[in-house]
Symmetry: C2
Subunit: 255 residues, 2 copies
DNA sequence: CGGATGATTCGGTGCTCACCGAAATGTTAT
DNA sequence: ATAACATTTCGGTGAGCACCGAATCATCCG
């Protein structure tokens, strides 16, 4: 009888990815808000997240326990506080993808400050370790136009692009980030166009920060383009002025 | 007073991606199972899904309503039946990514047939429009070894790779699938290594099907390598024999 | 025109889980 | 030591929702 490697008396188990369990972690408004907040790539304390999400500290504890146990968050304890951050780039990328696919929800804007902040977010913000928002999308488009990136069986860095990078003074990162796909795009959830992620996106972001082309708000995910950045982006990439400062009008409604 | 485009008397609303709402769709065992089933790229009727997920037809109706309304599924009605499929490649890719990130769940194996089927699934299966499983992962590895793919600021098709493709007789797909990143990998949830997706993955899959290197089971996602396929994969790519037939042993437990 | 079939609507049931507050734990500061 | 602080534990409450069965609707078939 053909019973290849089958033992009836032994309990047999197979492993299946528990998609529902993972999704359940994100299926709660509060937990989703926490994850979106952590998409800035930073490290937050439990208390900060409690206030941000406007729930009791005890509730936050429960949520963080679940998210850490589920592998979405990494934690680090120091004394009486608990620091959490996203588990890694994979997690961030998946969250971004999900956000790009998600339906929109309308939230009221209560103050002028909030409106301005939102406009700034649409213009340029961090997305874990790279640049998102209109600026990030414009980068992809302009670099493609200029032949630094090309769509040939995938979005790739061309020879001209590699040359341009070294001319910028970017060290050849080589295998340092070899585990991530290097040129990646992900759907921007404000503009619904792709922006640059992956290792190349991360490299460009770091470089722009170092050269102070952009500065990051210490408390939010907002990036602003400095004066030197404005000229650099214009001279080295030909970025149009619209992409370099938050537009006065709200972004156009999505078609 | 600086009140740029702010009207106090007008109700202001901003749009935020509702991550929780999207995740809630997948946070249910039954709905998750439905989506995983549809990852074979096929079109199912409501009744088939009801039986597959072992819930009442009425329950299935409710689930499908939610999934369609949420944009994850596309539906098509013909007479008294309701056909559903995944909304598109983006959806499929996100689901795969999620599955790769999800924790594992142990499910009992009840019969020898089930064990064999599971082994076949691990070896080679469809993943929406490309090849997953050990075979899919081996493709990436071998093609990289042979210099057809390279990791230089991203996984790209090399010149040699492009040449190899045309030698295979693959028409230069050009912009036909321009909207998808062409060379993509996604984490295989059986082997936990990357397999080829994106437009290149889809192209290779179609080509292999046309040439009958592989055939797809009409009822499941299982792919099997034909005799011609075995020689083709060996001659043209140097795929090792282990990658060409389901191993007799269960896949090694993940480390 | 029935009768079979696929899908849907609806009411009801039971379970899960997000939330809070009060008290407890452990850490830093005075 | 004592006080202030960050976080956690626990019990209890309320709301949401996955599920089913029975009845209904729509379509296809003989």
């Amino acid at each position: 009888m053909y019973m290849n490697r089958w033992d009836a008396d032994q309990e047999k188990l197979a492993e299946t990815p528990d998609l529902a369990a993972l999704a359940a972690l994100l299926a709660d408004r509060t937990r989703a808000a926490i994850c979106m907040a952590l998409l800035d790539g930073g490290t937050w304390t439990a208390g900060e997240l409690a206030e941000y999400a406007s729930v009791a500290p005890s509730t936050t504890t429960e949520h963080l326990n679940l998210l850490v146990a589920g592998g979405l968050l990494a934690e680090e304890r120091q004394g009486r506080r608990r620091y959490v951050r996203l588990a890694g780039p994979d997690t961030a990328e998946t969250l971004e993808n999900l956000a790009g696919l998600a339906p929109y929800r309308h939230v009221p804007i209560r103050s002028l400050a909030e409106a301005n902040q939102r406009r700034a977010l649409h213009h340029a913000r961090t997305c874990y370790d790279h640049i998102a928002g209109a600026l990030g999308c414009a980068l992809v488009e302009v670099m493609t136009e200029r032949g630094l990136l090309a769509r040939e069986y995938g979005l790739v860095l061309t020879a001209a692009g590699a040359h341009w990078l070294t001319a910028l003074g970017v060290p050849d990162t080589g295998p340092s980030l070899a585990h991530r796909a290097h040129v990646r795009t992900c759907l921007d959830w404000t503009v619904r166009r792709p922006h640059l992620s992956g290792a190349l996106g991360a490299t460009l972001y770091r470089h722009a920060l170092e050269r102070r082309w952009i500065v990051k708000s210490p408390t939010t995910r907002i990036l602003s383009v400095t004066e030197t950045g404005r000229t650099a982006f214009r001279d080295r990439l030909g970025l149009p002025d619209e992409a370099l400062s938050p537009s006065l009008a709200f972004p156009a409604p999505r078609g």
